[in-house]
């Protein structure tokens, strides 16, 4: 119905809209704000923090999976391969990591997020729907992402996850039906916010959000990262406890 209304606009209305758009100058440019740059968290929490506080809203199956993960991580029967073998962390765990990352506006049609930690790469297809075929055929630790801008906010939907990762370092569980919805925006000239919504009804009784804030750090370069080697100093990130 909305489409029909658009098509029914008269010539004068289109001309007025066109003129207003040109006169406003930045209207088109404002659709694609520049989020590119290097960002770095200033705080690290091994346990994911809900925006509205409280505990994870686990279903009975989710509670059992979480308890199993925590016990397995503690006694070593479940390896944390994201830290042991440096496989990708998955979303949202990668959002919490205390290493810098970069957002690259490119190549055309894609926003690319490249993390220093385990050189993880997220390719966000812009203004395209998620390919359901890819989600099923090629599950991935970091899933498949599609994004678009809503005003100043990059909105990213991710699905097609492998179920081998955790939502955080404590072993918060997810299924392969997990879907995440991120809203990424600058909240000041030097601060970036990523609010992620977790949708995984088998393990969680409701959708819930976590928020991550990063500082723009174009003064640093992303470094090579190889599992088991000594890496950069993380003393600027509160909450990091290196063993």
């Amino acid at each position: 119905m909305g489409d029909l209304r658009v098509r029914s606009r008269g010539g004068l209305e289109w001309a007025a809209l066109l003129a207003a758009t040109i006169l406003s100058g930045a209207a088109c440019a404002a659709d694609t704000p520049d989020l590119s740059g290097i960002y770095w968290a200033t705080r690290y929490n091994p346990k994911i923090q809900l925006v509205d506080g409280g505990d994870l809203p686990l279903t009975a199956a989710g509670k059992a999976a979480y308890e199993n993960n925590m016990a397995g991580l503690k006694d070593g029967s479940i390896p944390d391969n994201a830290r042991k073998l440096c496989v990708p962390d998955g979303v949202p765990r990668v959002l919490a990591n205390p290493y810098p990352f970069e957002i690259v506006d490119g190549p055309p049609g894609q926003t690319t997020i490249i993390y220093e930690l385990s050189h993880q790469v997220r390719a966000i297809a812009m203004d395209k729907p998620l390919s359901e075929k890819e989600l099923i055929t090629f599950p991935a630790f970091n899933g498949h992402s599609a994004g678009h801008f809503e005003g100043d906010t990059l909105v990213v939907e991710t699905a097609g996850f492998k179920d081998k990762s955790f939502l955080d370092a404590t072993g918060a569980p997810h299924t392969d039906e997990l879907r995440t919805f991120e809203r990424i925006r600058k909240v000041s000239p030097t601060q970036l916010e990523d609010v992620v919504t977790i949708h995984d009804p088998e393990y969680y009784t409701r959708d819930w959000q976590a928020r991550f804030v990063y500082t723009l750090r174009n003064d640093v370069r992303i470094e090579d990262y190889v599992c088991g080697e000594q890496h950069r100093d993380l003393s600027s990130v509160a909450g990091v406890r290196r063993p």
Binding site: T21, L85, T112, H119
Partner: protein, 292 residues
Amino acid sequence: MSKFAFKGTLAAAFCAGIAVWAMNGHAFAQAATQAPAKGGIPDLASVDFAWLALGADWRDPPPGSGHGPIKPDPDHPFHGNVAGEGQVTIRIGNYRDPVLKPWAAAQMLASNEEALSGKRSVPFAAQARCWPGGVPGQLLYPAEPFYFIQTPKQVWMIWERDHMVRRIYLTDKHSETVTPSWFGESIGHYDNGELVVDTVGLSTRNSYIDNFRTPHTEKEHVVERFKVSADGKTLEASVVVDDSDTFNEPLHLVQRWRKVKNPLLETVCAENNGDYFHQNLFPLPEADKPDF
């Protein structure tokens, strides 16, 4: 298509329309004359294509270019998986090549003997065992494509294999001090349609020039020139490796890729990559304690 995606597409189309409409004659003519050359910048990056290596060994440079790549030991010819009928062999490098300094020849011989004795039945190959391939060795990964991102100040090379990333800063000077690392510090510029990359600061642990395990020192200096063929279907890199502590003269190497229509997917090297057939494979990178 989702409501949001439709809105985005509509907005993009509308803005593109405005942009075309707004071009006056001068602006349009200028764009038309610049478009074919793109300011001398090769078209390397796209969401619609990637580059798949045509083999895991360096090709010879054009005649007269200088010393080419290290070849197989004549006593142990190499027969690869795609070389047709015959027994597949492991790569045994020609440690007798006079271009090698004595220490480098001795190291290659030791590596050959380790492989031939069966002590390590599959010789080290960085990316097979999840280590970065270094520069220029990373260019030899054959089975999965790699991707470029080009921006005015920087170029990224991203390999699908274990999502390895190289960064090239489009500037004319290296940093005053460079801490050696797997991919070193790469600076670059465009020259007559080629991407020229100059790399220093390369660390040496588990880092080789090729799959014959030709070593190098931290003195290694690499210049790569990436050029797309006239039909746009092939990418070629001409590489010069200068390391006077390892080689008696620079090595001149060539690699080629074909354009493939592959989206960038996640391939995780360390997943299901165990030594299932007890071949004493080189260990994967592994942390004995969590990083944080």
